[in-house]
Amino acid sequence: MKEIRFHGRGGQGAVTAAEMIAIAAFEDGRFSQAFPAFGVERRGAPVLAFARIDDKPIRMRSQVYEPDYVIVQDVTLLDVVNVTGGLKPDGKIIINTDRDASALKLNTEAEVVTIDATRIAIDALGRPIVNTTMLGAFCGATGEVKLESLEKSILARFSGSLGEKNIQAIRTAYERVAR
């Protein structure tokens, strides 16, 4: 089982991102689960969401304490939340920032992947809403979900030109981090 923790701020769509990962993973033929950390979600407040992916039905209902992957949608959260808490040493953390991974000096053995998702989102969507862009980066950095499945789940959520713009953002982010 792979466990993912999303850090965002209220209004940035962290919960939606977790849902879309779950839908994409299921599209790939795997079982999945996504849930928010059930806070009182005020705009701008730190929020948490979780996702699980497994080859068999998922029964575990506790929160995720030792994630394989962490996605940080807002780099300012690094000052207020322990985003690397419990992250597995062989895991990955993907952070939205224009800085290099080494400059962040994170306390983790896990691989740190950085991407300027805000810039990509502004270019593609005209707005700094980074949740879908970060999913593209997650997809490229981890290979846990197929890009086409992710795109399918995005298009199911956002129709018309908004869907197309989100696909563009996802592909840009994917290509930037994929090896």
Partner: protein
Amino acid sequence: MKMIAKEELSLKERMARMRVVEGSYAVAHAVKCCSPDVISAYPITPQTHIVEHLSQFVADGELDSEFLTVDSEFSAMSSLVGASAAGARCYSSTTSQGLALMWEVLYNAAGMRLPIVMTVANRALSAPLNIWNDHQDSVGARDSGWIQLYAEDVQEAADAIPQAYKIAEDPEIRTPVMVCMDGFILTHVYEPVELLSVEEVERFLPPYRPEHILDPENPKTFGAFADPSYFTELRYMQWDAHRRALNKIETVAREFAEEFGRWYGGLIDTYRADDAEVMIVTMGSVIGTIKDCIDVMRSEGMKVGLVKIRSYRPFPTEALRKALKDAEVVAVIEKDVTVGNEGALLTDLKAALYNTPTRIPVIGFPAGLGGRDITVRDIRRVVDRAIAARDRGIEAEMEFLSLREDLL
């Protein structure tokens, strides 16, 4: 047997029929497939999404129901009492303070033998204000006369709706049913679910044809005054209907499994219980976490099993006696506490075992109160405590799980 054939559907075949949806959507969809005539509800976290989806179905013309937007939960249940007495299939959903505000009408619905079905998105009761999950709300309503079923996952919370109508509307039962699902944990989770269809449900659930209804052409009265010479008998008949429901809940669960290939247990279910020395008894969504823990502990050679309470009212006394007769110790995990005594389920379970030859330690753990996460470590602690109670005697009959001593 048909049931076994369907149970043998491969995981791949089942996945082909699944969609990843929110728990609240799955429940609303199941309600839609039961074609209720009247829905009446007042929005309250974390139930809101259920009634929002239903309202959407009605607005979009996908569901032909009268959707009453009322001023309170008291009005929600009161309006359904009237509608149900007039012969309508009725649905509501609420939680916590909303359920508390319905209190006197809950007893009226049950006393008037109205087969209303309601989802309770379980949440703590104030004060202090807390919007998160525990079972204090519905456990507090356990004596209201409603049947109470508790769901382990989203699929069960959805599938319990047609089962609830079939139980409630049976002429032998005629008793309202609460389907309890953990607020947020199940209402807000996205996971793969097999959604029902109207046609499938129609094959399983007969139309509601009540024998007695309010009808101006044929005037009758419901829930009228009963003086001391009648009242006991009416209470007895309610009590007796719950006794009959013990069989009915099992039968309906089997019928559902035959039709849809999904089985959640009847009154109870068990997991790796056959040779279990330590038995955990619990209800609701924590069961999934416990099952995963049991698999790990079993791989370490620990003989741990689980009894899932699916029907809390009627209480499955006989089924529990049978399931626990060979256990060496029992640990109850429950998301409520009776202030001034102990956990409600702990008391019920001990009472069930008292007049039997089974003489084993039974200890209890209020847990997950007000949304406190129940972790793998917590489950291990419960099992450690249970083994200690078996080997060295009971130290504490009840212990608040993951109590933060530093805050006291």
